[in-house]
C-alpha cells in the first residue's frame, strides 16, 4: 500500500499564484520529503522536514508537517511556468515510499 498519497492529483494555476499540495501518510515517520519530477526526467529532492519540526522554508517553498494528522503540505509561492512538474511526498524508515504525485501546471 502507498505510504504517501498526494492531493489533489492535478492542479492548474496562473503564474504568480500560490500552489498548495497535500500529502497524507499512514505509519510513523522520522522525516518526510518532497520531490519534484519534470516531464521525462528523474525525481529531484526539494526539501526534508523532520518529525519534530512543524514548518520549514526553502526559497519559495514552505512545508508543514502535522504528525497528529499524519499529513504534510507543500506551498509554492509566486509560482512560475518553470514550476510545472509533478510533486511527490515520500517517507519511510527502512525505505522511502512515494505516492503518485500531484501534477502542477502553471499557466503563463
Amino acid at each position: 500500500s502507498q505510504q504517501g498519497e498526494e492531493d489533489p492529483q492535478a492542479l492548474s494555476i496562473q503564474e504568480g499564484e500560490n500552489a498548495t499540495m497535500n500529502c497524507s501518510y499512514k505509519t510513523s515517520i522520522n522525516n518526510l520529503q518532497w520531490y519534484r519530477q519534470n516531464s521525462g526526467r528523474g525525481l529531484v529532492h526539494l526539501i526534508l522536514i523532520r518529525s519534530n519540526e512543524r514548518e520549514k522554508h526553502s526559497g519559495r517553498l514552505r512545508v508543514t508537517l502535522d504528525t497528529s494528522k499524519k499529513s504534510s503540505s507543500l506551498l509554492i509561492t509566486a509560482s512560475r511556468a518553470a514550476d510545472t512538474a509533478s510533486y511527490f511526498c515520500a517517507s519511510g524508515a527502512r525505505q522511502l515510499t512515494f505516492g503518485s504525485g500531484t501534477q502542477l501546471t502553471v499557466l503563463p
Partner: protein, 112 residues
C-alpha cells in the same frame, strides 16, 4: 558530470526477450535502488543494495535480477519480458543514514 546515470534512456522490445538496464553513480554513495514508475506515476521500490549487498527486495517477480558489481553500479536484468513490465525504471542512490535520494533520469521500457 551526471551524478546518477542510467542507460539506455529508451528500450523497446518484444515479449519474451531478455534485457538489461545499467546504472552508475559517481557520488560515492553506498546505497543504490531500483524503482518502477507506472503509467499513473506511482513510484514503487523494487530493490535496494548497500555496499553490494541486497538489503531490500520487494515483491518483484524473480524474472527481475539486480546485480551490483561494486557499490557504484547497480544493474537490472529482466528475463522473459511481459507486457506488464512496460514502465519507467529509475535508479537512485543515497548514503546510508542520509535520507535524501538522488535519481537517474529513468529508462522508458516498452514491451510490445
Amino acid at each position: 558530470d551526471t551524478a546518477v546515470s542510467q542507460t539506455p534512456k529508451y528500450l523497446v522490445t518484444q515479449m519474451g526477450n531478455d534485457k538489461s538496464i545499467k546504472c552508475e553513480q559517481n557520488l560515492g554513495h553506498d546505497t543504490m535502488y531500483w524503482y518502477k514508475q507506472d503509467s499513473k506515476k506511482f513510484l514503487k521500490i523494487m530493490f535496494s543494495y548497500n555496499n553490494k549487498e541486497l538489503i531490500i527486495n520487494e515483491t518483484v517477480p524473480n524474472r527481475f535480477s539486480p546485480k551490483s558489481p561494486d557499490k557504484a553500479h547497480l544493474n537490472l536484468h529482466i528475463n522473459s519480458l511481459e507486457l506488464g513490465d512496460s514502465a519507467v525504471y529509475f535508479c537512485a542512490s543515497s548514503q546510508l543514514g542520509r535520507e535524501k535520494l538522488f535519481f537517474g533520469s529513468g529508462t522508458q521500457l516498452s514491451v510490445l
